[in-house]
Amino acid sequence: MTIVDIRPHLREWAMPHVLCAGCAHGIVGRAFLVATDRAGIDPDRMVVVAGIGCSSRLVGYLDFCTLHATHGRAPAFATGVKLARPELTVAVFSGDGDGLAIGGNHLIHAARRNIDLTVVLFNNEIYGMTGGQVAPTTQRGAIASTTPRGNTEPAFDSVALMIGAGASFVARASASEPFTLERIFTEALTHRGFAFVEVLSDCPTYFGRYNRLGDGPEMLAWLTRQDSRVAEPLAAKRVVDHLPIPEAPPGLDLGVLHREERPVFTGRRSG
């Protein structure tokens, strides 16, 4: 595997970026840049569309054509870009609230159409940009500024949602595994059809602080802890004993979880 220097893919004049210290979104962004390079995408032909939120701010630093759209609507903007100019590679950066709450409709329909987009959904379980409100992905019981006594709603399983909606490539990965991210992004970008990658990221500033999960380094380890390949063995070995161990969160399956070949929507007769 070639080592990719991502600095040429950055708008260096715009750096440093606006994200908080320790926010893992940048790790994801970096892996994405590596993947565009590995996938052999001409940067002039790469378009990244973003919604609104912390993750979406990231696109401003990527030296592609970047479209920082409106809250939740990035899949719609991306649909327009891709349909109007099919030879472009189009990706979407979206947050969990952006993609699954306000933008849920756009996401499921883009998936249903199987339009050739790569959607990266940054899941940090919270609304970061607006100050730490509960998100559709916040786990039950977690503290947010609008769930001061703990979230009473269940969280979205975006992977199940996307498979159900018809996405032809569905993956989940964690910001704590950058190499896997690079690989999955490369596969997603080269997949013909709608590719969805949920990335477990973190928000040390709000989610970490509210839930006492620590700063960037601790939260990266916490992300790893969500992986079912870790969480399930740990839960299995739980022993009944005299000391109270905090309940472990249920594990999430990571990796490429769904892949199929389906007709790709192009909006054209030649499609």
Partner: protein, 283 residues
């Protein structure tokens, strides 16, 4: 009969203590005076474990004097070498071809490397009598449980001792877990029959030191937000936060070029640079 000495050497967890208890019991069953000595405690935690057995009509020292052991049984190659001075001139070396490389060996890292010795019986030529190099672990694995490798080794050891099979079997039955008695007796006999391997047939570990490479950790201070992720992840502790909570490169020499800091930096602030001309892809 003057006291016979056997030294069993291996790594904690290999069953050296159990094997020596079996040998001592077999000697007891054969009517000899026996002394068997080992060390417990910290040394057993993955460290080198050695056990001395002496038996005969009378036995004084529980420790085998240097260069007097009739048999040195190595459960692992490097441990066999370690205790080689105990083997009498002409004494038999029984050794499992297994090699257990401690994490500290062959470390690429600058601070922790001690090489593992090559498995080369010619390197100890003239210091032993018979050399029985067997694949005890492999044989035990074939029988169904690699843990029985110690019984295989003892089977090979038994070729050089004057104890009856009956005594051995009785001793094995006394010490091994009840469910594994038959397996261990089978392993013991397999050890008695085990063929001596040609060292040439044993693959090299391929753990020779790799060429040294040097890297530059290029930190863009204007971009870095001192979040602490890279110091928390660097396997070599090249990076740290100083008292003012600012990121500093503290040990660039130790960098192995793994690039974890680079790929886990959320601020795109770190780049590992291989100087031009160095191996491994400059950029």
């Amino acid at each position: 009969m003057s006291a016979r000495g056997v030294v069993l050497a291996g790594v904690g967890g290999q069953g050296v203590v159990l094997a020596s208890a079996v040998l001592a019991e077999a000697a007891l069953q054969s009517g000899f005076e026996v002394k068997q000595s080992e060390v417990h405690g910290m040394a057993q935690r993955g460290g080198a474990v050695v056990s001395h057995i002496r038996y005969g009509d009378t036995v004084a020292s529980p420790i085998v004097p240097l260069a007097t052991a009739d048999v040195l049984a190595g459960f692992e190659w490097a441990e066999a070498l370690r205790w080689l001075p105990y083997l009498a001139p002409g004494g038999a070396l029984v050794v499992d071809a297994r090699r257990i490389v401690p994490p500290g060996a062959c470390r690429d890292h600058r601070r922790w490397g001690v090489p593992y010795p090559p498995l080369d019986p010619t390197s100890i030529a003239g210091r032993t009598g018979a050399v029985v190099l067997i694949d005890a672990t492999g044989i035990a694995g074939t029988l169904g449980n690699v843990k029985a490798a110690n019984s295989v080794v003892m089977g090979a050891v038994s070729r050089f001792l004057d104890l009856s099979d009956a005594a051995w079997e009785k001793a094995i039955a006394r010490f091994v877990p009840p469910r594994t008695v038959d397996l261990n007796i089978e392993a013991f006999h397999a050890g008695q029959q085990a063929e001596t391997l040609d060292p040439a047939d044993i693959p090299e570990l391929g753990l020779d030191p790799l060429p040294e490479r040097h890297y530059h950790i290029d930190v863009n201070e204007a971009w870095c937000k001192d979040c602490g992720i890279c110091p928390s992840i660097c396997p070599e502790f090249c990076l740290a936060l100083d008292d003012a909570h600012r990121l500093v490169v503290v040990d660039e020499e130790a960098c192995t070029g793994c690039r974890l800091c680079e790929v886990l930096c959320p601020d795109f602030a770190i780049r590992i640079v291989t100087p031009v001309g160095a191996q491994g892809g400059a950029r």
